[in-house]
């Protein structure tokens, strides 16, 4: 039931709060700008359509991230990535540069489950507890994935923070 609708100002405010973060995460997972844009826009569509109630800003952020990441998985699972055309040289130079840079490039090549926790922990600077909330995992499972990801990357960064 739609008791009321959002005003354009309300949507713009929420958009400014989360759009860049969600797009960064979606792009890092999908590595296709058009697909990332679809995953994020689907998330906002669900938000506008469902008007979910949140217990606070943390809860709201976790919801946006979780729905976006589920959307990315959905795009991958259904093979929709093949329907996108890479937009080389268009619009997002920053994304191209990021994808081709040192450690980040290695991160983007990790298996999805490991990539997700690394992105959220190191690049979005979230805590293990926050990541556990987003991915609906236990803290121990998040730590385990981080350890496996670090091993895969052969790097040892901020390890003392999470053990």
């Amino acid at each position: 039931m739609h008791a009321s609708t959002f005003t354009p100002e309300e949507i713009a405010e929420v958009y400014e709060r989360y759009a860049d973060m969600l797009y960064r995460v979606a792009f890092s997972i999908l590595r296709m700008k058009e697909a990332a844009e679809d995953a994020v826009s689907d998330t906002f569509y669900k938000y506008i359509d469902k008007r979910p109630a949140f217990r606070g800003r943390e809860h709201e952020k976790a919801w946006f991230l979780r729905v976006t990441m589920n959307g990315c998985r959905d795009i991958q699972r259904k093979g929709r990535l093949q329907s996108y055309t890479p937009l080389d040289g268009i619009a997002d130079k920053a994304a191209d540069e990021a994808a081709g840079s040192g450690i980040l490039d290695d991160v983007l090549r990790l298996p999805q489950k490991l990539k997700e926790v690394i992105l959220l922990f190191y690049f979005e600077e979230m805590t293990v507890e926050q990541i556990a909330g987003v991915l609906r995992l236990s803290n121990a499972a998040v730590k385990m994935r981080l350890a496996r990801a670090r091993k895969a990357l052969k790097i040892n960064i901020r390890g003392d923070d999470i053990t």
Partner: protein
Amino acid sequence: MMDQDSLQKYKAIHAPDSLKEKVLSYQAKSVSRTSTVKLKSYVKPLTAFAACIFLAFLFSFPASRDQADILIGGETVGTKPYEITALRRATFMLGSPVWVQLEVSCGKPVRIVVDSGVVRIYGENHAVIGDGTSGTAESGQSVEWIIGDADTDSRYHLSLKGDDTVRRYELLFSEKSGTWSIRLMSKGESS
């Protein structure tokens, strides 16, 4: 520490302007759709009245001895997944309980058993006459199945056990439709 260069390049990724336009256009469509929703609100009482008439007609016939079904919103739940539209919104609130309201149709009292959450059975004057992972219900009684920590990746089961038969229902979340649905999974003889 993560190398600053990678971090800076990552943070330099910004959502394209076209995304904002798309999102704001959803908001505009959402506003225009509310008029349709208002129209639907007039139709609902009529639909409910028709459902009541249908139910009264249905229950005017004696049910077969050990036949048992569950009904939601007056509709018998069969093998085709029944989307519980009332749960559509709740599913998107993290930590919200999944709350399925159903009714039992049976010739004789049946035992309801759930593998997760609790069932609450209501008698006359909406008094709770049963509350737990199982309970006995008679035809026409309201039943609530409440799963406090439902996970959208899991499937949950409810069984209706008669003297001779058992019917097993499955509750699951569909990412596609964004709602929970329930279906009759199997029916067989009681062991």
